[in-house]
Structure formats: C-alpha cells, structure tokens
C-alpha cells in the first residue's frame, strides 16, 4: 500500500508563504518565552514555587464552594480545576502566600475537613516547592536547553556542511518555538514535563530533516547541472511518503498517550503531538528552503566576483 503516489509539489516555490507562517509562529513563541521569563505565563509550580494538590472526594464538589471554603480559611489566591471523573479537584496555590511552606497542604486539608465534614476526601498527590528550588530548576533547565541545542548544532554541523547545519538548527528552533507558542496561546501550564517534551522533540524532529537532507545531498552529487530548487523539490517529493509515515507512527503512539495516558501526562503528550506535527512541517517547509536561500545567496556572490 502507498499513501502517496509519485508527487510533484513545488515546496521551494511556496517558501515565502511558509516563511511568513513560520515567522508568525516563532514570534508568538518568542513572546511566550519572554512572558515565561517574566513569570507572566501559566507556570507550573516546579518553576514558580508554590503548592499543588489533587484531592479525590467521596461526593461531587463544585469549584465555587471549594473556593469559598479556602477563602474562608485564609487561602485567598488559589486556582481550582475540577475533574468530573471521580470527583477530583486540582488545587494550585501561589507561592506568595502568607502560610509557610510545608503548611499550605495541611491548611487546605484542614479547611475541607472543617467546612465539608460529610464529604470525605483522600489526598491523591500534593506537591510543595520552595522558591529556591524553583529558581534552581529554572536555571538548570535553561542550561539543559542550551546544551542540547548546542550539541545538536555541533553534530549536524559535523555531519553536514555549514548551510545544512543552519537550516537544521533553525528548523529545530522553529519546532521548539512553535510548541511554546501553542502552549502560551492556549494558556497551558509550562512545567518541567513540558520542557522535557520540547527537548525530546528537538532531538526527534531532526529525524525527518536528516532524511530529507540525506536525499538532497545524494541528488546534488548525482546531478550537478540541475537547478538547486529543482534538486531540492525533487528530493523532498521523493522522500515525502517516508517523512509522513515516520511521523505518523510516532503520532499514533503519542495520541494513545494523549487519549488514554491519564491526566498526569495529558499536557506532556499534547506537547509531543504538537511537536511531531510541527516537526514534520518544518523539515519540509523550513529546513530545506533555508538551505536553498543560503546556497543561492552564496552562488550569487560568487557570480558577482567572477
């Protein structure tokens, strides 16, 4: 069976449209990162510090009454989220709380015990993180991201020539920014698992790019007279079905995580899904057109010199 027969799509010709789309996505991603750095985005407590709890009640409890319960007992700044299945309540408390660290989880429990004595609950999970840990984690994460990107750039630069290296790196960066953009726009929580997903995609999205680049290189050696755009277009079309099929298999795995993996890794698998899709797009529409652009420019300057 074949998903696609012989295709002949002019990918390189459409590069301007692709560049505009990618630029917009990247800019939103950069804005998202700036907002994260400013602490204005929806940060997970592992970065911002604070308390997160998941309670499972014996009877349904609505967020409004839960909120009044907590307000009455001296916990004013709180984010609540109700999970209908199993009467679960997710509670997130800001770190700038008057209650000392190590005590807010206890305070929450006491508040519910006092106000809802007939609705018993169990603490499914509770996380309290002090600001010093959050700061350290943020710093460590930044170092991790920089080192991974550097490692990938160096490897690609070593395996391919410089222009291909730039193309692959920009495409990878684009994928990461797109993930930030989606999470920022949807106001999803930026936490350590999200960063893990971003780095995983940074490594994985190169697979498609490498497949395309390998073919381009092969065809460039075979055919020296053909125009660059033609060689690139032909190469991308030749490997298009494997680009799509490889992404599809990972997509299948990620979507089963997303749908059946439970709420703990729900956002994590969502990030992976976004990454897989964007990674496929970028290997075709970002990485190769950038290389064409760079090659053409260097050819022109050579021509001018001659």
């Amino acid at each position: 069976m074949e998903l696609l027969g012989k295709t002949n799509i002019d990918f390189i010709g459409k590069r301007n449209i692709a560049f505009v789309i990618s630029a917009i996505i990247s800019i939103i991603g950069i804005i998202g990162i700036i907002q994260i750095a400013r602490g204005a985005a929806n940060m997970g407590i592992d970065f911002s510090g604070g308390t997160a709890m998941q309670l499972k009640f014996s009877k349904p409890i609505d967020t409004a009454s839960a909120r009044t319960t907590l307000h009455k007992n001296g916990i004013p700044k709180v984010e609540l989220q109700e999970v209908k299945e199993g009467n679960k309540l997710l509670i997130k408390i800001d770190r700038n709380m008057s209650i000392a660290l190590g005590k807010s989880a206890e305070a929450v429990q006491n508040a519910f015990k006092k106000e809802h004595p007939d609705n018993t609950f169990t603490v499914e999970s509770s996380t309290e993180i002090g600001p010093s840990i959050g700061d350290k984690l943020r710093k460590d994460t930044l170092i991790a991201v920089v080192i991974s990107l550097l490692g990938i750039i160096l490897y690609i630069a070593w395996r391919f020539d410089f222009k291909f290296g730039i193309g692959a790196t920009l495409a990878t960066l684009h994928d990461c920014l797109a993930m930030f953009a989606v999470f920022y726009v949807l106001n999803l929580e930026i936490n350590l698992l999200f960063i893990t997903a971003v780095l995983t995609i940074a490594g994985y999205s190169l697979t498609d790019t490498v497949v395309v680049f390998d073919r381009i290189r092969e065809n460039m050696h075979k055919n020296l007279k053909e125009s660059l755009s033609n060689v690139f277009n032909r190469s991308i079309n030749e490997v298009l079905s494997r680009t799509i099929v490889t992404s599809l298999t990972v997509f299948l795995a990620a979507i089963s995580l997303f749908l059946f993996g439970g709420e703990v890794i729900h956002d994590f698998s969502r990030a992976l899904l976004v990454g897989v899709i964007v990674g496929t797009y970028s290997s075709v529409f970002v990485a190769s057109p950038i290389v064409v652009l760079l090659e053409n420019r260097s050819l022109e300057s050579k021509a001018q010199k001659a």
Binding site: E124, G151, Y155, L206, L252, A254, G261, G262
Partner: protein, 532 residues
C-alpha cells in the same frame, strides 16, 4: 542458513532470554523458593518511581548558619564558666551574629590573661587585638572561614545521620536519604501512609533544654535582664481546638540539655490514663539533674523543646537516679514521635522543607494502569498500520518493535533503573519511533525495487543507504536524552533513562534484528517478489 546469520540470531535469542530472566521477578506474582535460593538469579522487580508506587519526596535545607551560631554560643557559655572558675572578671561575653564571640573586660591585665588562655583552648578561632569600647577593654574571638565551613559541613552530615535514625525508628521500608549539594538533604519515603506525621518527625529540631523559671520577674514585664528570656507554653483544648499560650520568664542558660539523654520511652500515667515520655539521663546528666534539683527545691523547672515550654513542674524534692518525665497534652502518637526524636537526638541546626512531593498509592496505581493501557493501544495502532502499509515486511518491523520493548524492559530491570510515569511515556513513544528506522529502510527498498533490482539486492542496498540516516537521527535524540538525564530529577530522569536506553536498543533491533529476519527469508537470492 546464510553466512553471518548464526551469530546475529544467537545474539537476539540470548538478549531475549536475558530480558525475560530479568523480568521474571516483575512478572511473577510470587517467585518459587528454588528461584530465590539460587544465588545468581535476579530477584528484584523493576524499580518504580515515587510517582508510580506512591510516597513522599522531600528536600530539606539545613540552616547551617544556625549551626555555627550554636557552636559560638557553646563557646560563650564555656568561656563564662571558665573565667568564673578562674576568678577572672568580665563585664560581658556574648555572641555577635554567626561570626564571633565578643568579650568586654574591666582591666587590661585580665584581657591579656584571657588572650593566652584562648590561644590554647580554641585553635580554630582568630583573636582580635585588644581595643577600647566605652572605657572597657574589648576582645573578639572570631571563627575562621575554614572552621565555619567545617562546622557547616559537619552539621549537614550530622543532620543526615539524625534524620536517618529517626526514619529508621519510625519504620519506613527502603527509605532513601542522601546529601545533595552543600546544605540540602534529599529524602524519599516510598509507600508511606501518613506523610504529614513523618514530615513533622523529620523536620523537628528537637532541642531539649531544662531551664529554671524566674518567678521573681512577671511575664508581662517590659524590661528583661540579660540572662532571662520569655518562652510560651502552648496548650490546645482537645474539644474546641482553641490554642492558649502561657508565657514564662526563664533563665536563659539551660542547666541540662537533651544530649545527656540515653533513652526516651512512652509510658502511660496509670492515674489519668494519659501518655507521657519517660527519659533516662546518662551518668553526667544524672549527676547534674541531682545537683540542680537539690539546689532548687520549691522552684519551677521548665522543660523546653525547640523554644516551646512543654511543662514547668515545681521541684518538690531532690531527684536522684537520673530519670524524669515529660508530660504535656500528648496523644499516644505525639508522645511516641517525641520519644523517637529524643532517642535519635537533636538536629545540629534547624531544617527547612523546601520541596515536598507526595503521591498517594491510588494515583500511582492509576498511573500505571493508564500508562499500560496507552502503551497497549499504541502498540495495536502501530502494528495494524505497519501490517496494512508494508504487509509482511511490516510484520517484521513489528517483530523488531516487540523485541525492542522486551529488551528495554529487560535492560531497565537488569540495570536497576527507576521507571517513572514519564518513563512509561518514553516507552510508548519509542513504540512509534522504533518502527521509524524500518520505515526509512522499507521506503528505500521500495525505491530500489522500482529501479528493477531483485529483492535480495534491494534489501541490502536499502539497509546500506539508510544506515547513516538512521544513525544521525538516533544520535540527535540521544544527545537530548543525555542532557535530560544529567539535569532532570525524579520523573524526568526516568524519562531520560527509558528514552536513551530505548534509542540504543532500537539501533540494534532495527539494524540487526529485522535485517536477519529478512536474510533468513531471502537468502537464496531467487525470491522473485517481496511483500513490502
């Protein structure tokens, strides 16, 4: 059999058997006794992270400054005693911040004598020259940076030991207690039922002091002499939960401290059926207790724990024999916990909990079930897709994928790695990734077949030409996985472990495992058609 297949098949079979062997303890509900008796057989299940088995992960920060202050306090008290016993008169000796003890003398001669004394007695400290302060002769004894660093280091090590003792006595199976960085202690308590109680037990400084009550000063007085302080007794009404505080004026200097204890046990008062903690002093403690009680009959003696007065009974008679009791508003649990911390000893400095992650056992089990479900569905989706799209060859890739998962689980068990929920996610993701290499190879083979090559040579050149591409894509994933491993903690580390092991294993199964299967079928070279 074609040349070169033998060793590859044996390698795959050996790996598969080894994986099954290491997975047996995880899969079997109960190992037979002959298995546990044989020394070489693996007995450990795959180690589950706290997010899967439930438990508490704590990070404590030791307030090391306080430890330095503590040792300066000891020096100040010690000096006072020494100088008093030698009839050397001083105006004041006190600790300043966490760096020095300041002394003030009436006469220059005394100061000079003390200087000589200090030289011999405190080698880790630096003296300042004498200087004038308001007409008195002043002298500072400053702790050197090195000594302070050493003190801090020892405080953390000591805190670690004390906490280990407390946890051992509390009874947690397989706790992990280790130092991290300069002043952090990481504690993992798997499967703990009452995390809050454990946290209270661990975080308590438990500095026990016996101090005389100064009944000559009213507790509401605004000016206190230098050697007195106010501390409160907190009582909680068991029916209304109302907290009431009774202030006491105490002599600052503790006459007896908790480090002179040898034992602490919970006892029940037969008269009121109320639990209390009975304590035993060592011989020095017993002697001191005897002397103090003899000299202060009729006065009140406050029992202070971490700056809270527990009780302040009146000394009715001299108490010899070296045992005493601490009573207060105890339940059996709180009395038992107090006995544990007194037996294990005080922390050399207060600790602060800076990270506390607790996962209940039900959520852990739920995560395992959902992770397995997602994995199973992922496998089915990928298997069906590959079988439809690449027919028989797709089934070979599926075989490689199943081997991949088997080897990965076996490797996790054999290496004693920890499986976390993100780790399970990595395995599910690898189900999709592991067929990718074969997809790249198969597409190449299809191209070669279209060029009119026979299946055998199409297969060989497909593998050859795809090799570098596959290498490249694996190396880049491995780079990020390695970085995640280095920087990640807990669940993320579990993800990195699963991912990097999986990527390495995948290289093996896709390049050797599936290739050898094809070789077996196509080795004669006269196969006309390939199912791809």
């Amino acid at each position: 059999m074609p040349k070169g297949t033998g060793w590859r098949i044996s390698l795959i079979v050996i790996f598969a058997l080894l994986s099954l062997l290491y997975l047996t303890p995880t899969l079997a509900t109960k190992l037979p006794s002959w298995w546990t008796d044989l020394p070489l057989l693996p007995k450990d299940k795959i180690h589950l992270g706290l997010d899967l088995q439930g438990g508490t992960h704590l990070v404590l920060e030791v307030d090391t400054e306080k430890a330095v202050e503590g040792s300066l306090d000891i020096i100040a008290t010690d000096l006072e005693d020494t100088l008093n016993s030698k009839n050397l008169h001083f105006k004041r000796i006190n600790r300043v911040g966490s760096e020095k003890v300041a002394m003030l003398f009436y006469e220059k001669d005394t100061a000079t004598t003390v200087q000589k004394l200090l030289n011999d007695k405190y080698p880790g400290y630096k003296q300042s020259p004498q200087y004038d302060e308001g007409g008195f002769v002043a002298l500072d004894l400053r702790i050197t940076d090195e000594a302070a660093k050493d003190r801090k280091d020892k405080a953390v090590a000591q805190a670690l030991e004390t906490i280990r003792n407390r946890i051992d006595q509390f009874g947690v199976s397989e706790p992990l207690i280790q130092r991290e960085g300069i002043d952090h202690i990481v504690i993992q308590l798997p499967g703990i039922k009452d995390p809050q109680r454990a946290i209270d037990l661990i975080g308590r400084t438990a500095r026990l002091e016996f101090k005389l009550v100064r009944e000559d000063i009213p507790p509401n007085s605004t000016s206190l002499p230098d050697d007195a302080e106010i501390m409160k007794e907190k009582t909680v009404d068991p029916t209304t939960n109302a907290v009431s505080e009774i202030p006491f004026v105490l002599q600052k200097k503790a006459l007896i401290t908790g480090d002179l204890l040898t034992d602490a046990q919970v006892r029940i008062d037969s008269q009121f059926n109320q639990p209390y903690v009975g304590i035993e002093f060592n011989s020095l403690g017993a002697k001191l207790f005897d002397q103090v009680t003899a000299a202060n009959v009729g006065k009140r003696f406050a029992i202070v724990l971490d700056n809270n007065v527990y009780s302040a009974p009146v000394i009715r008679e001299r108490i010899s024999g070296g045992s005493a009791q601490i009573s207060g508003n105890f339940t059996e649990k709180t009395a038992a916990d107090l006995a544990i911390v007194l037996r294990a000893g005080a922390l050399p400095a207060p600790v602060k909990i800076i990270q506390n992650e607790t996962v209940g056992p039900s959520l852990g089990q739920d995560s395992i079930n959902k992770g397995l479900m997602a994995g199973l569905i992922g496998v089915v989706l990928v298997v069906v897709f590959m079988a439809i799209y690449y027919k028989l060859s797709g089934m070979v890739a599926n075989l490689g994928m199943v081997l991949n998962v088997l080897f990965l689980m076996g490797a996790l068990a054999a290496l004693g790695a920890t499986l976390t929920l993100p780790g399970i996610a990595a395995i599910v993701l690898l189900i999709g990734m592991s067929v990718d290499s074969n997809v790249i190879i198969f597409e190449r083979i299809r191209e070669e077949l279209k060029l009119g090559k026979n299946p055998k040579s199409a297969l060989d050149s497909g593998y050859d030409k795809a090799f570098l591409t596959i290498m490249d894509s694996h190396v880049t994933t491995l780079i990020t996985a390695a970085v995640l491993f280095q920087f990640g903690t807990g669940p993320v580390k579990g993800f990195a472990v699963s991912l990097s092991l999986g990527v390495i294993i995948n290289l093996f199964t896709s390049l050797i495992g599936t290739k050898v299967t094809f070789d077996l079928f196509l080795h004669k070279g006269n196969v006309k058609k390939m199912s791809i």
